[in-house]
Amino acid sequence: MPDTAAENIPFAVRTYSAEALSEAFRKMLLIRKFEEGAEACYTRGQIHGTMHLSIGQEASAVGACMGLSDADKITSTHRGHGHCIAKGADVARMFAEFFGKETGYCKGRGGSMHIADVAKGNLGANGIVGGGLPIAVGAALAAKRLCTGAVTMCFFGDGANNEGAFHEALNMASVWALPVVFVCENNRYGMSNAVEKSTAVASIADRAPAYSMPGTSVDGNDFSAVAEAVEAAVSSARAGEGPSLVELVTYRWRGHSKSDRNRYRSKEEIAEWMAKDPLAGMSAMLLEHGILSEGDMAEISASVEREIEDAIEYARHSAGPEQAEITRYVYTDLAS
C-alpha cells in the first residue's frame, strides 16, 4: 500500500527494518512459548520453587528494548523472563537455570527470580519488589561517570511504584540527570491488590511531575506504541536530557504465581484482556504492512517451538552443581 499517508503507518513500521520487525515478532513469540514451556515443566514437577509468568505482556518487554544495544543495561523484576529474552538471552541457558543446572545463567544458584544475562546487559531479575530501581540509577550513574554512552532501563510493576525505593530512585535520577528510563509495566495488580486500591493516583505516569521528568502512559499491548514511547525516552536519556517515566498498561493472563487462585479478579476481565492479545496485534500489523506473510509467521513459529524444545532438552541433560561448591561465588575467589 505505497499510497498510505505516513501518519497512518505505525511508528514501528516507519522506523524499523523488516528484519528488525521480524526479529521483534520472533522474540515476542519466543517469550510466549518460553512461558508456556516453563509452565508445562513446572506442572510436570521438573522445575521447583515458584514462577511468575509474563504471558500477555510480550509487547511491553520487546517493544521497550527496541532502542537498546547490548551495551545498554536493564534491571528486571520477579516477572522477568520476557525482559531477559527481549534483551537477547539464550532460552537454553534460561531453562537450564530453572532446572537448577550448572549451565544456567546463574549456575543454578538463582532460578527464575534471579535470572540474568550480564553479557547482554541484563543485570538481573529481582526477588525484591522495587529492588532494581536504585540499582538501575546506580548503573546509569556509572555510565555517566565512565562516559560509556549507555542507557539503563529499569523495569518495575505497578505494585513496585508504591515502594519507597521508587520515590528515592526517581528523585535521585532526576536531580543528577542520569541516563535511565523507568518503565512501569502496569498490569493492574500487584499480586492481588488492584491499582485502584493500592495507588493514590489514576495513572502511574502522573507521578512523573513529582520528579520533574516526562511521564507518558501508553497501551502496553501495542508493540508500536510501546516502542514509540520508550524510544523517545531512551533518546532523551542518551542525549543527556535525564530520566523519563513510561507507563505501559498491560495485563498478565496467568495468576500472580503458581499458587494464585485468581479470586481478586473476574473471568470476564481476564477474557477481555486476552482479547487484546499483544501477539495478535503484532501479527496483524506485520501482515497489514506486508512485513511478514502468514507463511513467514508459521515458519518463525515452528522454529521458535523447536528452539524451546531443544532448550528444555539441553536443560534436562545439563549437570547440576556439585554440593561441595555450595559456598562458591559467595565471595570472589582471590586465589584464582
Binding site: T50, E163, G190, S192, S198, Q323, I326
Partner: protein, 335 residues
Amino acid sequence: MNVQADAVRTLSYAEALREAMDIALGADQRVVLIGEDIGIYGGAFQVTGDLVEKYGEDRVMDMPISELGGAGVAVGAAMTGLRPIFEFQFSDFATLAMEQIVNQAAKVRYMLGGAVSVPLVMRFPAGSGTGAAAQHSQSLEAWFGHVPGLKVVQPATPEDAKGLLLAALEDPDPVMIFEHKLLYKTRGPVPEGAYLTPIGKASLRREGRDLTIVATAIMVQKALEAAEVLAGEGVDAEVIDLRTIRPIDRETVLESVRKTGRLLCVYEAVKTLGIGAEISAMVAESDAFDFLDAPIVRLGGAECPIPYNPDLERAAVPQVADIIAGATDLAQGRT
C-alpha cells in the same frame, strides 16, 4: 480473654495461627490485621485465609507494597490504641522495615521514659525449603534477638503457634513471630478456645541423659526425629525447643546441660552469629560450664545465601542426618 484450654483436636500450623487471629478479632475491636495480600488472597501462605470475609476490609487490611511505611503505620496505630497484627509476606522483607522495627517499635517506650508502649504483633514467614532462593528464604531472627525492646518467638508446633500468637497479643510490647514456612502444613493437637503459651519459656520436648539438643523452629521436629534414631543407637538425647529467642529461657537450658554435660545447638539460620552462638556463649559463661564434658557443638546453616538448586538448598541447612551425625560424634567425644 478466657485463658483456659478446652478440648483438643488437630489443626495445621497455619490453621492454628488463623484460629488465634479469629479469636482475637472476635474478642477485641482494637485488633486489626495489616499486610500484603492478606485479604481476598488469604495471604501468600494462606494464613489469614477467609478472615476478611468474616471481619471485613477495615479489620483485615490489604496494604500497598510498602513494608517500611506499613510497619510504621502499625507502630503508630499500636501507640495510639489499636492492636495491630502486621504480616510481612516473607521475613526477608523485614530488611525494608528495620528502621521502624528497630529504631521506633523497639525503642520508643524507652526513649520516652515509659510514656508510651507499642503493643504490636509482627508475623514473619521464614526459612528455606520452598525453592524460592536467596531473597525469599532467609532466617533473620538472630538480628532481632540482639535488639532490646523486642521479643522474638519461633513456634515449632501448631499448639505453640496459636498460644504464642495469643500471648503476643496480650503482651504490651512488640512481639515478633517467626513462622517457618515448611511448618505451615504440619498438623498437631491444638486446644480449642483461647490459651496463652508463655513468651520466654522453652519447652522440654524429650528427656534424655546423654546430651542436650537445643533447637529452634523446624529444627525441633528434625531434632526429635533424630533423637528417635539416636535412641536406637544407644544415645539418649534430651531435646529442648527454645521457642523464644528473646528473652532466652536461660534456666531450662542450663539445667539440662548440668545434667547431660553435652550441648548441641541446631538452627537453620547462618551458623555464624545465629542463635546457637548465644546459647553456646550463655552456657560457656555460666556455672554449667563446669559440667561440660565436651566442646559445645553448633549445627547451623551454611555460610552462603540460600541457593535455588534443590540439592544445594537442602545442603544449606541442617537435616536429620546431620543432627544424628553431630549428636553421635558429640556423645562419643571426650569426657
